[in-house]
């Protein structure tokens, strides 16, 4: 293979990488508004276990966006849990107390334990007992 051919090939590969990167980032970019819209309409909501959950069927964009967020949350919970010497589930549940107490807006969906999905009313969400010290 001549030097020119090699250079041409390298340029092609670089171009493909840039193109793919752009597609991935634009897709990731499209997920966040999709997830926010799903949170607003209640098809996605916060759960007491510290993760986002699906309240019914959602689009592929919303699903992948929520799953990406949950994977990142789990990584963060795992880090903190190791630092504090607690289980990942405990760290996640402690965060769940906070999201239910301060992140869920009126009208948005939430779920406690394995219970049914509910909509937040005007008042604060009644939290599980172990959240007694939230806020």
């Amino acid at each position: 293979m001549s030097r020119t051919h090699f250079l041409f090939g390298a340029v092609l590969v670089a171009g493909a990488v840039i193109l793919a990167g752009g597609m991935i980032s634009s897709r990731a970019f499209a997920q966040t508004p999709a997830v926010s819209a799903a949170l607003a309409d209640g098809s996605v909501g916060e759960q007491s276990d510290g993760y986002l959950g699906f309240n019914g069927t959602v689009s592929a964009d919303v699903r992948s966006g929520v799953e990406a967020i949950n994977i990142k949350r789990r990584a963060a919970y795992t880090d903190l849990a190791a630092k504090r010497g607690v289980t990942v589930a405990d760290m996640a549940a402690a965060t769940g107390c906070q999201t239910l107490a301060s992140r869920v807006k009126q009208g948005q969906a939430y779920r406690i334990g394995g219970g049914a999905w509910q909509r937040k009313g005007a008042g604060p969400i009644p939290l599980p007992d172990y959240c007694a010290t939230a806020n």
Partner: protein, 72 residues
């Protein structure tokens, strides 16, 4: 009832106080017995509560520092 009335003999004023103490000591003898079982103090509740408080603080900071993970 004082020692004077019990004994029927006057006691010097200075000696009265120790004498009263002696009466009390005899009358109100408190028996302290070592317990048969070891005394257990359960600290689990307090420790658990502290862990919860600390985790809530960590959780709050996590949310504040990573808003992209907690969209609204």
């Amino acid at each position: 009832m004082t020692l004077e009335t019990i004994l029927g003999v006057p006691i010097a004023k200075k000696a009265r106080f120790p004498a009263m103490l002696a009466t009390l000591a005899v009358a109100g003898c408190i028996q302290v017995r070592a317990p048969d079982k070891p005394i257990e103090i359960n600290l689990n509740v307090k420790v658990q509560q502290e862990v919860v408080v600390r985790l809530q603080q960590d959780a709050k900071e996590l949310i504040q520092n990573n808003p992209e993970l907690f969209p609204q």
